[in-house]
């Protein structure tokens, strides 16, 4: 599409110059064929699809409360419809200020996480007690992801970035594969966007933030609902908590399953 090259079409003539070109007489050097920059666009060697995710993580849910943020994701990485890897942590502690929850193609998550870890090491090497803030990481990710999507080779990920800054102000944002980002008190990826966000918004008090107890309760409820309704989820999940008191990933927890309501449901 980008190079307008149809690899199946026969050339108009053989052994001659391309339209507009001159004859190349012997004795000169043949120009080296430039490979397309990504082997992902239509080219003389065929097409490679990079817009399909292979091994995927499902939803990530993030909730901001008065003193920090909580991020939850189940521990499943699927291979299509196969529940392939069932004990994978998808919420990461980046540094003492930042949590990252990754969904989408898990290889891309690992790739960008490695990049981010290198950045954190550079920060440590500067040795000046300045650690990256969640807002800065989210901004950097939008730049990288937008650049990749503009080159038609996206990192097929949808992440939640959360944390606190130096004064303890919590920050929560969702960054997706197109380089889109938005900040809110509740963000989610995948099915959680449809199932969990309305639940959380319903419970949000109008004039104040959630407390840590309310946020934890909401996480529990939402992970339960996601397990019932999202077919690419399992009942085990981890929760990352970041506030001024500390930053870490807790778990794994089990969903408190209660299938008795199933009898009351007819149809869907």
């Amino acid at each position: 599409m980008l190079n307008n090259y149809n690899s199946l079409a026969q050339p108009l003539w053989q052994n001659g110059p391309a339209p507009g070109e001159f004859y190349k007489f012997t004795g000169g050097q043949m120009p080296v064929q430039q490979l397309p920059r990504e082997l992902t666009t239509v080219g003389p060697y065929g097409t490679k699809h990079s817009t399909a995710a292979i091994t995927t993580g499902s939803s990530v849910l993030g909730i901001r409360y008065d003193e920090g943020v909580m991020l939850a994701a189940d521990t499943l990485v699927s291979y299509g419809s196969l529940a392939r890897y069932q004990n994978i942590e998808r919420v990461f502690k980046i540094n003492k200020n930042i949590l990252l929850g990754g969904s989408g193609d898990f290889a891309d998550i690992q790739s960008i996480k490695r990049n981010i870890d290198q950045k954190m090491i550079e920060d440590q090497c500067c040795d000046d007690n300045i650690e990256m803030k969640p807002k800065s990481l989210a901004s950097w990710m939008t730049r990288v992801l937008y650049n990749r999507r503009s080159r038609m080779n996206p990192l097929y990920i949808d992440v939640v970035v959360g944390g606190v800054d130096n004064e303890g102000t919590p920050y929560l944002a969702n960054v997706d594969l197109r380089g889109r980002s938005h900040e809110d008190y509740v963000v989610a990826t995948g099915f959680a966007r449809h199932l969990a966000i309305p639940l959380v918004r319903e419970k949000k008090p109008k004039d104040r933030d959630f407390t840590v107890v309310e946020a934890a309760e909401l996480i529990r409820t939402c992970m339960e609902v996601l397990y019932y309704r999202d077919t690419r989820n399992i009942s085990q999940y981890t929760v990352g908590v970041c506030s001024l008191n500390g930053c870490g990933v807790e778990g794994p927890f089990q969903v408190n399953e209660n299938w008795t309501f199933a009898e009351t449901i007819k149809g869907y």
Binding site: C126, D128, I130, K135, S136, R143
Partner: protein, 289 residues
């Protein structure tokens, strides 16, 4: 200037282990008009003596804003200064674009120092002939950094560079302990007091004092003429700083920046006098110690 056979190339060492071209670049800094930087707990202030040219009536730009939270004043070649300032501005902009926050000043000047160092190690380049006082405010508080053509980057509580800056440094050193507790106006007055000492006796007509400030909840700004005059009037009402002749610490009353005995232009042996022992950081070439 005392010429020798080791000074034609940046990449030639002298037998004493000196790079003369780099030291000569420091001389260019001493040719520039004086500039002073100091900081309190919440603010960093720059003051500079700007030369007015009677014919063109334009002020030489000595103080350059770099970003909302950082600016610098220069002494030396203005052409080199413009380039360095442009580099710093680009770096700050790029950082903001990527990370949506201000560039930590310590890292910015470290980056600048690395860039300056590259020019001292190549046969096809020369050191930048400009010394800078970088003033800024970030999450770690106010900063004053001194950056020299030798690519030395020094974190200072207060500093003065340029011609006749020794008396300014003496003033700063004497009052250094009180800066941390100063409020904004006191700090500005200290800056003006310090730089007044660098005014020679004959060129009060040609030099004007310009002030700039940055700090907590205060983006970098250069004062307007009216604001400059306001603070100048306050300072004039106070006692003037010690005249150079009465200054016991100053050798013979004159600043030693312009004297021929120092640096590579002299015998090559650093003189040790009372002033040199007490200064915070070396702005001359005498850092072989």
């Amino acid at each position: 200037m005392f010429r020798n056979q080791y000074d034609s190339d940046t990449t030639t060492w002298s037998p004493q282990g000196r790079l003369f071209q780099v030291e000569y670049a420091m001389e260019a800094v001493k040719q520039g008009a004086a500039t002073v930087g100091l900081k309190s707990a919440d603010y960093a202030v720059l003051a500079a003596l700007c030369r007015t040219s009677k014919d063109t009536d334009t002020l030489q730009r000595k103080i350059m804003p770099v970003d909302g939270h950082v600016g610098m004043s220069i002494a030396g070649l203005t052409a080199d200064a413009r380039l360095v300032c442009q580099y710093m501005r680009t770096e700050c902009m790029a950082y903001r674009h990527s990370y949506d926050t201000e560039f930590p000043i310590r890292r910015l000047v470290a980056n600048l120092g690395n860039k300056l160092q590259a020019t001292t190690q190549r046969y096809d380049r020369r050191p930048y002939g400009v010394g800078m006082l970088v003033a800024g405010y970030d999450e770690q508080g106010p900063h004053i950094f001194q950056v020299m053509p030798t690519a030395n980057v020094l974190n200072c509580k207060a500093m003065a560079i340029g011609s006749r800056s020794q008396s300014a440094r003496t003033y700063l050193e004497r009052n250094m302990e009180s800066f941390a507790g100063c409020d904004k106006d006191e700090l500005i007055c200290h800056a003006i007091q310090a730089i007044r000492g660098s005014l020679g006796h004959d060129d009060t007509e040609n030099l004007t004092i310009n002030v700039a400030i940055v700090g907590k909840d205060l983006p970098f700004k250069m004062f307007t003429d009216a604001e400059n005059q306001y603070y100048l009037n306050i300072v004039k009402a106070l006692d003037p700083p010690l005249e150079a002749e009465q200054d016991a610490l100053s050798e013979g009353g004159m600043s030693d920046d312009d004297m021929m005995d120092h640096g590579p232009s002299g015998s090559g042996v650093p003189t040790s006098d009372a002033t040199d022992i007490n200064t915070n950081a070396s702005t001359g070439g005498n850092d072989a110690r």
